[in-house]
Subunit: 164 residues, 8 copies
Amino acid sequence: MKSSVSIIMGSSSDMPVMKKAQEMLEKFGISYETKVLSAHRSPNDTVDYVNKATQEGISVIIAGAGRAAHLPGVIASHTTIPVIGVPIYTTNFKGIDSLLSILEMPSGIPVATMAIGEAGAKNAAVLAASILSIKDSKVKKQLLLHKKELRDKVIQANVSINKD
Amino acid sequence: MKSSVSIIMGSSSDMPVMKKAQEMLEKFGISYETKVLSAHRSPNDTVDYVNKATQEGISVIIAGAGRAAHLPGVIASHTTIPVIGVPIYTTNFKGIDSLLSILEMPSGIPVATMAIGEAGAKNAAVLAASILSIKDSKVKKQLLLHKKELRDKVIQANVSINKD
Amino acid sequence: MKSSVSIIMGSSSDMPVMKKAQEMLEKFGISYETKVLSAHRSPNDTVDYVNKATQEGISVIIAGAGRAAHLPGVIASHTTIPVIGVPIYTTNFKGIDSLLSILEMPSGIPVATMAIGEAGAKNAAVLAASILSIKDSKVKKQLLLHKKELRDKVIQANVSINKD
Amino acid sequence: MKSSVSIIMGSSSDMPVMKKAQEMLEKFGISYETKVLSAHRSPNDTVDYVNKATQEGISVIIAGAGRAAHLPGVIASHTTIPVIGVPIYTTNFKGIDSLLSILEMPSGIPVATMAIGEAGAKNAAVLAASILSIKDSKVKKQLLLHKKELRDKVIQANVSINKD
Amino acid sequence: MKSSVSIIMGSSSDMPVMKKAQEMLEKFGISYETKVLSAHRSPNDTVDYVNKATQEGISVIIAGAGRAAHLPGVIASHTTIPVIGVPIYTTNFKGIDSLLSILEMPSGIPVATMAIGEAGAKNAAVLAASILSIKDSKVKKQLLLHKKELRDKVIQANVSINKD
Amino acid sequence: MKSSVSIIMGSSSDMPVMKKAQEMLEKFGISYETKVLSAHRSPNDTVDYVNKATQEGISVIIAGAGRAAHLPGVIASHTTIPVIGVPIYTTNFKGIDSLLSILEMPSGIPVATMAIGEAGAKNAAVLAASILSIKDSKVKKQLLLHKKELRDKVIQANVSINKD
Amino acid sequence: MKSSVSIIMGSSSDMPVMKKAQEMLEKFGISYETKVLSAHRSPNDTVDYVNKATQEGISVIIAGAGRAAHLPGVIASHTTIPVIGVPIYTTNFKGIDSLLSILEMPSGIPVATMAIGEAGAKNAAVLAASILSIKDSKVKKQLLLHKKELRDKVIQANVSINKD
Amino acid sequence: MKSSVSIIMGSSSDMPVMKKAQEMLEKFGISYETKVLSAHRSPNDTVDYVNKATQEGISVIIAGAGRAAHLPGVIASHTTIPVIGVPIYTTNFKGIDSLLSILEMPSGIPVATMAIGEAGAKNAAVLAASILSIKDSKVKKQLLLHKKELRDKVIQANVSINKD
């Protein structure tokens, strides 16, 4: 296993959201692998994968899940690697069920919680980069570029709204 | 294992709430056993216990948990026995975090959700009795007596408020 | 009455949701009957039906209702059979009104509460099967098959997302 | 039955709240009777009482209930008399469960919903007086006096805060 | 002024909702008049109208308003007639802002609060009929017919879902 | 009337909260007057006062109110002076009812909304100063001093926590 | 800098909302300038602009922002000018995240909070006019005209709904 | 600067909460420094400190803040170091205001959000350790010990509840 980051999601229907994390990692040049694993429908497979990933040297795990979103918490229970949780939007509770199931982890077993949906998935990748940057100066350079880009877009927006 | 019902809780601090389930089962004459098992702090032990309980013939599992209350869902993932979930009250979200983490189980793996806290724990025992009553007429008689008692208390209350 | 399960709903507009329960019961080979009965618009008919169903040997009642969703609670007041409540989605309160009217039953008279809408209706059928399985080993086998299917779908999803 | 108003509550523990309705009716000189009747624990007794009250000429029913507060709705299902609902405060949901179970009655069967708790109970009595005043000019005079009193208290408060 | 009921709304955009109240009153044969009056944009006109309506013998006022829905409360401040409030749905807060602004009237000045939107408007008319029925037996007969119709529809729904 | 600011509250029980606005205005050397006036219990007196205050040259009105907090909105309906609303905390809805009744004013008639309770009352005074400062340089100097004080306290706090 | 009001927004995507403030200021004949500045993506530029605007005599700042809407608060931290905050609607939290990030400013540094979205942006302009009117009688006249227009529209609506 | 972690809080009143992070870091043998810095009351000092900390080699920043909790976001705007946010409990909104102000950071600038209050502060330290462990095997060993301790406590709890 040569990836730095593992992206795990509870269902293939979460793919359009988690794709935002993939794209951002690719932009930063960070290697990753992607898995569908369910805390409730394939619990033993999930534990097996997390144990293997931990041993083979994955540095960060990003896990997206919806509803009673136990997946990030289950992963965090079985590893010392930093786990970043992305709550998936739900119709009935607008993703607040997913958010609370990830955020409210018990004392001692944290999950780094992101915002609900695509913005959260994208930011999960930026946070993963930020974590990797503490030991990888190339990633740090990517992050500085990323910050510059964000500012440049604001400056351009300012010009464009005053043109009209 | 000769108990009919298993009461599991995520932390010994849930005991004062889950005691209400114990008391109600005792009143109905239903045998039970009680365990502290954590979905996050002792995940493997939890799975081992659920597998054993399923094989040894427990008929109903009552599981109480708070915050990111994954315990009832984890149990339901590993057994075909009916699982009743009791959300424990929390200071920050008033138990709504616990409730949603139990209620919002994915399609295919239900947890019978009760109200938050002591009323929920008591009703979990009544529901367990109700489930057992479909094959045990003695428990059914207990439930009919229980319903009569509830009505009698209302009639007495009516007399007493009009006395004052 | 030879059905094992009774599906009751407050309005025929709840049919598209409750159909998910019918389909799941059919898949498990469990017999059922379906009724429209309103706690508010036909209260006496509702009580008459519940009394009759209880005497004729229905083992589980699934009741779906929306808004001030009193139907499951009214049913539970008149029987010792386990009652499973399915909150129907509402526009104004997103089904949270339905959920609380079912979940917050008083101490002594439980309703096994499911998630709001179709996932809840489907899980109501799985829970009904789970309850029946404590006395019917054929249903237990169906549930084990069901769990295997859930896992198989996750394994397939994993393959398919890594193909793209 | 010579009372004009009937005050019904789901439990004798609601008495301290519903007492506010009693006191206000007494102040207005309106006759009333008080009952404890439970929609869930004594459903048949509740229906019997409502039928009797309707026939004997009660003009308004005030019903207080908490949690899955079905009582006012059950009463409204069985009578054409105006029904005023008072949601009782609850620990877990701060009375919002009670409120929604009363407010969200289906189309065709209204309950006049008041605020949660004591202010609601007091206002239920004022609304009952307001309803009676459409056929009873003595009650109308009481309401005019009541409005004058409310204003006088504000004027006095104004004087007193500027004294300090 | 020969109408029995006055329907007031804060904006002509509330008309599609309040039309449900008009239709129901027409069905019951109850006379009414309709006004657009704003608590904030035409406050003096609102007070003038309420004073006039009170003197000329309107028996019930139905007031619909959205957002900071002060209209029903302002009306109730200036009259002893029963005031029924209909919260109008809003995009940002789903009508909960309207609901709380109507429900949470101070102690001493009630507004009979209905559900948000069309169901609330329709039920406001039924409640108005219910209030008028305490002095008008023709309206009472209409209400009994109305209840019979509600039950008949449930019975028909039951037949139709079991036909498919 | 020689005051610059008028502080109005719906009830004398709001005084402990609104006192925070008084204290802050005094600290800034801004003259003010205080009134108890109720939108519901003394509506005509409220309108009379607002008209008088507008004519006599009050520059800013601070209005505190709870529950269906119509007071700030009623005032804003009758004047062109900037109106600052302070939502008072409530037991049932934690002041969210008060907040929404003030915040959700209709298009065209704004109320400058502050946070719930004491922090809101204090900030209402700072905002009033901020408004007055656009024509009064003495008040502007007071605000600059105030900002310096806020920063100084942070610097001191930093020293003190690192001493322990 | 000769503008009286500065309109700042966190992103050019907020322009359709903030345009409502522009339109209203234009109607009142109040000069303004518009900027895109981000509290998070261009923090130093934001501070530089606020310092410059304060020195050059802007009288009121209107700031619109969404999600973790820090922009109005950051601005208020760097100036004594009154700052009006407009929460932008968000999909996940319906703008309540934006609202709370603006409303809940710490004691000592107020932001005058408006309703979420377009109504809030429009009202921000009316409040800005209201603030300017304390030193500019031309703006005061515009506000009186504005109030008359609001009332005239209600009177016309009343005529039109009774025509149909 | 030789610390690995920086703990920053918005007010010295947050110290009892943030102490939980200090204690956990001490237990893991991780060096840290603690600062009070306010996003609103000392914004320039905050930026100066973050710039200095970034240059001097701090690896992780933990920031606790309440109400409009802009502090973690402001810090994340000025650094590429991973920032962990701890929402402080508030009376009015129970910390949900703090949570949303931290969680809802815009796309591109993440803050790793923890649960509200003490559990969140403790878990922030565990997450910081988890991040450091990707380059420091001593910290990884500490985390494995920590996980063993958590499990041991559950096993002991199980023994003790079955003793009684």
